[in-house]
């Protein structure tokens, strides 16, 4: 039998309502024996006392309920966003506040590349914050006219390219394709919107986005990004899980030095439901404690800021036409029921209120036919759900994972362009969810926004936008509730709450190790609480050990 370690900490926030605060936690074989005072724990037998956290605060390992393994693959490229952002090596990338700054940054990167023909790929560019002319191929030709240059927008749906890419992709003035933006002279100006132009431009320079996500080095970066944020379990929502990706996931998570539990959701639209069910049976049998297979994700509609979410009346505030379905609304119930009847939990992306309502109709139909009081269908994003939706979700046992980071990054645009004041102020309505007893989590959708649950919690607590507006004070939640949402709340949506999400006997010894008490930091200071690292299954992972790239 292996030994017992008792960790002493300045303070332990347990999320266990019977004993919310402790000073010690005893761990054996990666499992918590108990939390409390030292004398409460000594009865388990001889132990080593670990005093390394004597000046630290422990809380349950935080769980990112909606992120993507792409958070790992994006960091092999240059980050050129409007906000400074820390990479998975812990080094902060600077904020770039104009097109000129982006170009200058990429020129420096180019100068360090040597003679190779390799492409320069950058990501995170968000012109929504700029006034004045949009980026063009001429801007990126200043970076290089001999190698391909690609700048991917923060939405990941638009890219800017230089002339080298246009010519390799055979895009010229005569190319008559939606989404190839043209300048006053009729020539393509280097901005490519929409899937065909984007995929073929990336294909022309040999970049396969899906392959990159599943690479081992990407999965390591994903874990380090999580570790730096104090996250011990993260979802990959979603992944078609081809063989090679699955093999890589197994290999990395099988390494005792890999600091993350991953919950990949199978992309339910990647094949017909009957095939998907067979694949899920095969996958779920391969689950391990650090690779949890068994979740399915479906996508109902698009995004609000991209005007592709499906809205009910009165539609978009600026009059944009209604958005897109990614699954035929008439087929949602059938697809849900195939997975549900086979015993698999399904999470469904719904952004617009019409999508939320349509999916709730489908869930009700499925649960009426095949009741399961613990199905825990979860609506992901669920940004426009209102009072009546949450009431209905409570009756159906449906969970919500709300996109709190949106309030900060795009709250002003929602207020002014997409939703208008009233609907913007009730977006991501955590307080309404809580009032109705709907189990909820909050998320980052990383890499869309930074993977950092303390920041996400700050967003839900303060509801402040970039401009400083408080967007819907009535939907703010307490610091305690926000911390619960990023631990037990997320664990519940993943059906992992019996083994993760709180520090109490029998659960896995996953902790977030903080330099300060987040409760003492309060609403304002929550996002700035320093993260020392994590403990995963009893093993410490200090951020300081992460190698710089």
């Amino acid at each position: 039998m292996s030994g017992i370690t008792v960790f002493r900490a300045k303070k332990i926030l347990t999320m266990n309502p019977r004993a919310p605060v402790a000073s010690h936690v005893a761990v054996r074989d990666g499992i918590i024996l108990g939390a409390g005072a030292l004398e409460d724990l000594s009865g388990w037998g001889a132990y080593d006392l670990d005093e390394g956290f004597a000046d630290k605060v422990l809380m349950p390992g935080m769980i990112e309920g909606h992120s993507h393994s792409m958070e790992g693959s994006v960091w092999q490229d240059h980050y050129v966003g409007y906000y400074a952002r820390r990479g998975p090596d812990g080094v902060e990338r600077p904020a770039l506040r104009s097109i000129e700054e982006v170009v200058a940054y990429l020129q420096r990167a180019e100068a360090e590349m040597g003679d190779s023909e390799a492409a320069i790929i950058a990501w995170g560019f968000d012109p929504i914050y700029f006034t004045g002319p949009r980026m063009t191929a001429a801007d990126l030709d200043k970076v290089s006219t001999s190698r391909p240059v690609v700048v991917v927008h923060a939405s990941f749906h638009i890219i800017n390219v230089n002339s080298v890419v246009l010519s390799r992709a055979n895009i010229d003035a005569d190319t008559d394709v939606m989404g190839i933006m043209k300048g006053g002279d009729g020539a393509p100006n280097g901005e490519l919107q929409g899937m065909p132009a984007r995929f073929l431009a990336l294909g022309a320079i040999g970049r396969d986005h899906f392959e990159e996500m599943g690479k081992k080095e990407s999965l390591w970066r994903f874990a380090r990004s999580a570790q730096l944020a104090g996250v011990t379990t993260a979802t990959d929502l979603a992944n078609a899980l081809p063989e090679k990706t699955l093999a890589n996931l197994k290999e990395v998570t099988g390494d005792p030095g890999y600091p993350l539990r991953i919950v990949p959701a199978f992309l339910g639209l990647s094949c017909p439901a009957a095939e998907g069910v067979a694949k899920m049976r095969d996958l779920s049998a391969q689950s391990t404690d650090k690779l949890r297979l068994g979740l399915v994700k479906l996508v109902a509609d698009g995004s609000i800021q991209g005007f592709t979410a499906r809205l009910k009346e009165p539609g978009y505030f600026n009059g944009s036409p209604n958005g897109l379905w990614y699954i035929d609304p008439g087929q949602i119930a059938g697809t849900l029921s195939a997975y549900h009847e086979a015993g698999f939990q399904v999470h469904i992306h719904t952004n617009g209120d019409q999508a939320t309502e349509t999916v709730l109709d489908a869930i009700e139909e499925v649960l009426t036919r095949t009741p399961n009081p613990d199905a825990r269908f979860t609506l992901q994003h669920c940004q426009m759900a209102h009072e009546a939706h949450f009431a209905r979700m409570a009756r159906l046992g449906v969970c919500a994972n709300l996109f709190a980071n949106h309030l900060y990054y795009w709250g002003d645009q929602h207020y002014e362009q997409t939703m208008g004041p009233e609907r913007a102020e009730r977006m991501n309505a955590a307080n309404t969810a809580a009032r109705h007893g709907v189990p909820y989590a909050i998320h980052s959708d990383a890499p869309i926004t930074p993977l950092a649950p303390l920041f996400t919690a700050w967003c839900a607590v303060n509801r402040k936008t970039v401009s400083g507006r408080v967007l819907g004070a009535a939907e703010r939640i307490s610091v305690e509730d926000a911390l619960r949402a990023v631990t037990l709340g997320a664990a519940y949506t993943l059906k992992l709450d019996s083994e993760l999400g709180s520090i109490e006997t029998g659960k896995r010894a996953d902790f977030t190790v903080l330099g300060e008490d987040p409760l003492a930091a309060g609403a304002e200071g929550l996002k700035d609480v320093p993260v020392w690292g994590t403990v995963l299954g009893g093993r410490a992972f200090p951020c300081a050990d992460i190698p710089k790239e």
């Binding site: 992709a169 055979n170 895009i171 190319t175 008559d176 394709v177 939606m178 989404g179 929409g194 899937m195 065909p196 132009a197 995929f199 073929l200 294909g203 899906f210 078609a240 081809p242 990647s270 094949c271 017909p272 009957a274 499906r310 009910k312 009346e313 036409p321 209604n322 897109l324 379905w325 990614y326 699954i327 035929d328 609304p329 008439g330 087929q331 019409q354 349509t358």
Partner: protein, 321 residues
């Protein structure tokens, strides 16, 4: 590219519009054209033991040389795989999912170096479309699909009374005013016209006359001789200005200023490509354009006049590519 681009057609339309019926006809056809059909799901295809020669995971190979595959990791991956085969198919047909916008798939063919965009055919269930068009959940989806059509097919017309059919026609014409509209049942369409193989007919005596050809009640084809060199600008204007009843045109012409060089003309819907054609040792093809359209398509003489306008200036200044 050493190899000619493969034509790619898109079959769009909402669930139940008849896409699968049409694809079954293609796969079971005996035209000799080796189709590769990309579907979302094998589920509804009529695949029995006799027809399917080989079943290898994502791909079914038929005894008549046709292929059927499901969408793999992505459409682009599947298209790359098909175009890079040792024996690539003659024609690729992609079934758009019930909520997909057919334009996105057609655009892939425009940009892909191994492909040529062919017709986007959108099927409409004449029996249910008016209800779908009123459903606030489906309205924009069916409208976008119809608007993406080069050819709009009102299917299941046998199930719909005459006055209702007129209402369906009105709706369709509002969504796709530029697209020819045809009515059919059981997805019956002249496949050899809509999903042709690219082939070059050698020049031969005695056929250089404008003539028509019957393809059941639905379509006409007309071969129009193009013996005299044409002015490029006038040709472009003439072809893109043809009435919606003309669905496609294809053939070879010679242009004013360089009559010795043949040019290949391909009109699909309202999209036009004209480029210099290298015979590459093959017998020179006939200079003629073959037009395909609905029965109200203009006569061969009318088409000929539309492309050889009365000479006002010389127009030769515009004859470059």
């Amino acid at each position: 590219m050493s190899q000619e681009p493969i034509p790619l057609s898109v079959i769009g339309g909402f669930l139940g519009a008849g896409k699968t019926t049409l694809l079954n006809r293609l796969l079971q056809g005996t035209s000799g054209v080796r189709y590769a059909v990309i579907v979302n799901d094998f589920g509804d295809l009529a695949i029995d033991g006799d027809l399917a020669a080989e079943h290898g995971g994502d791909t079914l190979t038929f005894a008549n040389g046709c292929l059927c595959c499901t969408l793999g990791d992505s459409l682009l991956t599947t298209l790359n795989d098909l175009t890079r085969r040792d024996a690539p198919p003659d024609h690729i047909v992609v079934e758009a999912s019930g909520v997909a916008d057919p334009r996105q798939i057609a655009d892939m063919a425009v940009l892909h170096p191994g492909l040529r965009r062919d017709l986007s055919i959108v099927l409409v269930d004449a029996e249910t479309i008016l209800e779908q068009a009123r459903d606030e959940r489906l309205k924009e989806t069916v409208e976008r699909q119809a608007a993406a059509a080069d050819l709009l097919v009102l299917n299941k017309c046998d199930l719909v009374a005459r006055d209702r059919r007129a209402k369906v026609r009105d709706w369709a014409a509002r969504q796709a005013p530029e697209a020819p509209l045809i009515e059919t049942e059981h997805a019956r369409l002249p496949l050899e016209l809509l999903f042709a193989r690219d082939e070059v007919k050698p020049a031969g005596p005695g056929r250089d006359t404008a003539k028509g050809h019957d393809h059941g009640a639905l379509f006409r084809s007309r071969s129009v001789p193009m013996v005299r060199p044409l002015d490029l600008a006038a040709l472009r204007a003439g072809l893109t200005g043809l009435p919606p009843s003309v669905l496609r045109a294809k053939g070879f012409v010679s242009l004013a200023g360089k009559p010795e060089n043949l040019h290949l003309v391909q009109l699909v819907g309202r999209r036009l490509r004209i480029h210099a054609w290298d015979a590459g040792g093959r017998a020179p093809p006939r200079r003629e354009l073959v037009f395909v359209g609905t029965p109200d398509m203009p006569s061969g003489e009318w088409l000929e006049r539309a492309l050889y306008p009365p000479v006002v200036g010389t127009g030769l200044d515009n004859s470059g590519e």
